[in-house]
Amino acid sequence: MDANQYIALAAFLFGIGLVGVVVKRNMLVVFMCIELMLNAANLTFLAFARRAGNMNGHAIAFFVIAVAAAEAAVGLAIVIAVFRTRGTLNVDEVASLRN
């Protein structure tokens, strides 16, 4: 397959992730969408690495995977803390700090 198709696919995935982050109400789904964005970026990196012919894009993919894992861990811990104090997973209901 041509690199451009990967890039298009990645852009599509990124779009889904971004829209999901904005419209989904469930915290867990929001975090999944963030993962989607990161992986879309990874895919783009790999596609471009193939085109550029160097290993940079490959290298960063590993780092991103690690970061994504850490982010998920931290995110879930915080979701648990929020759930304990409020008993909800709906992001809209976590809005006491405002104005």
Binding site: G17, V21, I34, F48, G57, V74, R84, R86
Partner: protein, 512 residues
């Protein structure tokens, strides 16, 4: 290959403060477990954190400030980075001092806090010296991720948990967008090395026609995406909205740290990124021009004007001091962006000086908030009424910090603003001078607006009768810090030669 490894090994010599912070961070987490039962654990842990920071400071002082790339160009060691590293060390050190005396972080977990704080300092060190997209991303992520944890450190605190959740979602999205932008930059330029960007961008912009337009669009989108990662760190419009909520919800000492440390790191990164890759070399007149025909300075100028206006206007309506200071911190990001918008040596120096002074005055302001909150349990402006009768030192110090934040002489904030405005006005006689002039006018108007809400606090403290009678009796350590901060603000308000000279010496940045 051997050469690469050899370079990595040789680079360790220029990486010693960072190594100390890395191992110190881990050591504190271990020490936290070891000292579980010690009676004086609070003091011991704080002492350990101070020792780590002190060791890092010693090594930093001993280190050469000559511009050298480290780890095969992943990060740079230069005078510019060193200047900011001192700011980060100071921010870390002062935060440790504040936390050690306060009760925002409970004893059983304070060791974790110090360990993680050292990790943030490490991340900021890397942000200031990163010259590669990979290190930029990783350092921002390091700072962010640890910050999410520290903001929500008190798990049972509803507000802190909310702040932390918002922070993590906003931050992750921003860095995700940044990463995606980086992938496009990589695609366009074929390299991660920021120092090698400039010639490639110039090359790209030479393409014309439909392909040229598409390239330009892709480049702009990629850079704006990357900016979102930096922009959210410095809380600039339009990536500022997390800031008030997180500042309000997070424990105050950490809010204080957040408002000075990561903001300065963000500016260091932005300076390196924009001056290094999107501006030509600095001319003999100390000014650089943007390359590739893309109006970065103008865009940053607009963002600067909008950021300061929005921050100041919204701050007017606030009654919670932490929230007010959050909006004020947005406004200050706006002022500082003016320096970035000039793309000149003077502007760069202005940013450096401003971040240094902002460190002192904003930490000081938050320290007063901590002091009052410890006495009254409140952050509301109404509980500041008649503060001068309840604790004159706190009130006078706060007055000094607020006047300094406004930028009135003879306080240090004036010095900082003077250099930023001077940089803008210097540009006002060149091409597009009208717009720089307009930016300076907007900045001046904003300063006037900001006086309105700062003066409201001062009025409450000095002219109103106390509504509450809670005694404000700050701990001696706090009093000493307030006194020292005020003295520094006053001294640098009339004698700023050392800061200026130091920043001038530190304006050397590794270039490709």
């Amino acid at each position: 290959m051997e050469q690469l490894i050899g370079n990595n090994l040789a680079s360790v010599a220029g990486f010693r403060p960072e190594l100390v912070l890395t191992f110190g961070s881990i050591a504190l987490l271990v020490l936290d477990l070891v000292l579980r039962r010690s009676r004086s654990r609070r003091a011991l842990l704080a002492g350990a954190a101070v020792i780590v920071l002190g060791l890092a400071a010693v090594l930093l002082a001993a280190q050469s400030t000559a511009s050298t790339p480290l780890f095969n160009g992943m990060i740079a060691s230069d005078a510019f980075a060193t200047f900011f590293k001192w700011i980060f060390l100071a921010a870390g050190f002062l935060t440790v001092l504040i936390v050690a005396q306060g009760d925002d972080y409970p004893s059983p977990r304070v060791g974790e806090f110090y360990g993680l704080l050292l990790a943030v300092v490490l991340g900021m060190f890397l942000m200031a010296s990163a010259t590669n997209l990979l290190t930029i991303y990783m350092s921002i992520e390091l700072v962010s991720m640890v910050s999410y944890v520290l903001a929500g450190f008190r798990k049972s605190d509803r507000k802190a948990a909310e702040a932390s959740l918002k922070y993590v979602i906003y931050g992750s999205v921003a860095s995700g967008v940044m990463l995606f932008g980086m992938s496009y930059l990589y695609g366009l330029l074929g390299t991660f090395d920021v120092l090698a960007f400039a010639p490639k961008i110039a090359e790209l912009s030479a393409t014309t026609g439909a392909a040229g337009a598409a390239t330009k669009l892709a480049l702009v989108v990629a850079v704006v995406f990357v900016s979102s990662g930096v922009g959210y760190k410095i809380a600039s419009v339009p990536w500022h909205m997390w800031c008030p909520d997180v500042y309000e919800g997070a424990p105050t000492p950490f809010t204080a740290f957040l408002s000075v440390g990561p903001k300065a790191a963000g500016f260091a990164l932005a300076l390196r990124f924009f001056l290094g890759s999107f501006a030509g070399p600095m001319g003999a007149n100390g000014m650089a021009e943007s390359i590739a025909g893309i109006p970065w300075p103008a865009v940053i100028g607009v963002l600067s004007a909008v950021t300061m206006t929005l921050g100041n206007l919204t701050a007017i309506a606030q009654t919670n001091l932490k929230r007010l200071l959050a909006y004020s911190s947005i406004a200050h990001a706006g002022y500082t962006l003016m320096g970035l918008a000039t793309l000149s040596a003077l502007g760069m120096q202005g940013v450096m000086i401003y971040m240094l002074i902002y460190l002192v005055m904003n930490l000081g302001a938050f320290l007063v908030v901590i002091v009052v909150a410890e006495a009254t349990g409140s952050e509301s402006i109404f509980d500041y009424s008649g503060l001068v009768h309840r604790h004159p030192l706190a009130a006078i110090a706060f007055g000094i910090f607020l006047f300094s934040l406004t930028g009135l002489p003879p306080f240090a904030g004036f010095t900082g603003k003077w250099y930023l405005f001077y940089a803008v006005i210097e540009r006002a006689s060149g091409p597009a001078g009208f717009w720089y002039g307009a930016l300076a006018v907007v900045g001046a108007l904003n300063t006037a607006v900001s006086l309105y809400y700062y003066a409201r606090i001062i009025r409450a403290m000095f002219l109103e009768a106390p509504h509450v009678t809670d005694r404000v009796a700050p701990k001696l350590g706090y009093q000493l810090m307030l006194g020292a901060f005020s003295a520094a603000i006053l001294v640098f308000g009339i004698w700023w030669a050392p800061i200026v000279e130091w920043s001038q010496r530190s304006m050397v940045m590794l270039r490709g």
